[in-house]
Amino acid sequence: MLEAVRLSHKKQLNTAFIIFRMTVNNIIKTRRTLFMFLISSSTLLVALLYLVLRESDNMGISGYAFFAYIMGTLQIRGILLLLSVFYGSTVFSDELDRKTLVYLQSRPVSGWSLLLAKYFSAFAITAIFLVFSTAAPYLVLMAADSPADIIKNLDILGIDLLVMLLGAAAYCALMLMASILLKKPVLWGLTFTLLWENTVVNIPALINKFTLLHWLQSIFPHPAATNKFLSLLNPKPSSVQTSITMLLILTVIFILISGFAYRKKEFKLN
């Protein structure tokens, strides 16, 4: 029977899928996921609050405008970054912390299969939360103005979702790379996203292209919130096609670096 099993051994893609499924299952079962779900529901909660307040007060702000504001403040500068940083680093770092990487390395699992499985599990979880935290307030706030607006502004929702997914793809890849190369990937990830990106993205020079946020904001259909002083600098966005291409290229580059670093690095047992 063992021989038969050996002969039917499937390709590395299948192995990657097994790791992907197990990683996602493990993540979903944790209490942290519930907490992250609450965080990603904050956009919906704020949208519902808007509805409640709108009934009692004559609001000077339309549902669409408030949706744009939520996307520009909470979503692109908060939820997207924090979820991606957390899940992007957790998927691999957890194996190191639990010391279970040894089980994966003593199995016929290629480094690339392992990393791609981990990457896509981080991306999948982050993407699900982001789609929820984008689509849910959209439905509530468009319906608040007029149900027909839900269909009318679908293109905006589509672009928002595209930005979120591209952002998740890029940041998760960056954090996967950081979790292989660095000892404290979350700390470095937060320093990079909250300090470097939030500051440098506002500088009107070539340097702002060294941020993922610049490319995301170039596609983003809403104005992103920023510090009142830095916003005076008013940097120019890049074209949408260039931004999408750059984000995809950067994602691939981060994953490639992760792969090469994983092969070179020694994860020894202590």
Partner: protein, 291 residues
């Protein structure tokens, strides 16, 4: 001359505890943290604003007194110190995480909590010992450089009227630095006590700060009620500048005059600190022996 037995000899002196029982925890924590090279580099990097402000202060002090158009930038007044401390609060976020995210959950993981509490230490001693580690590092980048700047100003250009007029800045520096340090430290310790995963405590710390900020901003955008800005923990912390520096806090970029009374923000922070303390006490109190 007596010949001593080469065996274990019992200590015949009196066992004395340290004057402050929890001090060994703090001392060891500080020593261990300073051993990390990257942390040392970061710590040195946090002193860069001190150098910038010191140069600014020196240039300002050398500018002739009769120059009426002395740039506001070069004036050394209470706003100068408030501004310096505001910049350092940015570093406090990272410093707090680096020195504090793993303090209690590291002890959970290595089962060291039982070792601590089997010594003549109370839970409060343990908490104070751990808290002091983070507070130490936060004060090292706030109080110490700020007071040094004050002393530098006095030394470079001693002016009795300036000194008397601005003497109140010293307790203001002490007060705001201590307040911000303790708040951040208690908060990170609370998160470290809640979870066994330091990555999760790090990200939760940021999530809560960033989110309360974002939600406060959104709600204020809706209703334009100052009290809504108090939802943000960061806003409440910045409002403390209003308590300690008064009108001089207005020039700080993140200080919002739209907020409700700063004492309201202080009250919220006190309640937050008390809650954090009780959470830590409860978590430390229940030592998990076997799961």
């Amino acid at each position: 001359m007596p010949i001593f037995e080469q065996t274990y000899r019992k200590w015949e002196g009196t066992l004395r505890t340290a004057g402050i029982r929890w001090f060994p925890i703090t001392k060891m924590g500080i020593k261990q943290t300073f051993k990390k090279k990257r942390f040392l580099l970061f710590f040195i990097g946090c002193q860069v604003p001190f150098l910038v402000f010191a140069i600014r202060l020196i240039i300002g002090a050398l500018v002739p007194e009769n120059m009426e158009n002395t740039a506001e930038f070069l004036q050394v007044n209470p706003s100068f110190f408030a501004h310096f401390l505001w910049i350092q609060t940015t570093f406090i976020f990272i410093m707090t995480i680096w020195s504090g995210a793993n303090l209690i959950n590291g002890d959970y993981q290595s089962n060291a909590l039982q070792l601590y509490l089997s010594k003549p230490l109370t839970q409060l001693d343990y908490i104070l010992g751990k808290l002091s580690i983070v507070v130490f590092f936060n004060l090292a980048i706030t109080i110490v450089p700020a007071i040094l700047l004050f002393i530098l100003r006095v030394l470079i250009k001693y002016d009795k009227s300036w000194f008397v007029q601005n003497l109140w800045v010293i307790p203001a520096i002490l007060g705001i630095s201590l307040a911000i340090s303790v708040i951040h430290s208690l908060f990170i310790l609370c998160l470290s006590a809640i979870t066994t995963n330091s990555r999760f405590s790090t990200i939760t710390y940021f999530i809560i700060l960033v989110f309360t900020d974002g939600v406060a901003d959104l709600l204020y955008h809706l209703r334009r009620v100052g009290a809504l800005l108090n939802i943000s923990i960061s806003n409440n912390i910045y409002s403390l500048f209003g308590i300690f520096f008064g009108k001089h806090a207005a020039k700080i970029p993140d200080y919002s005059e739209n907020m409700a009374d700063p004492y309201y923000g202080a009250a919220i922070l006190i309640v937050l600190c008390i809650c954090c303390y009780f959470v830590i006490k409860k978590r430390v109190g229940r030592i998990e022996v076997i799961q």
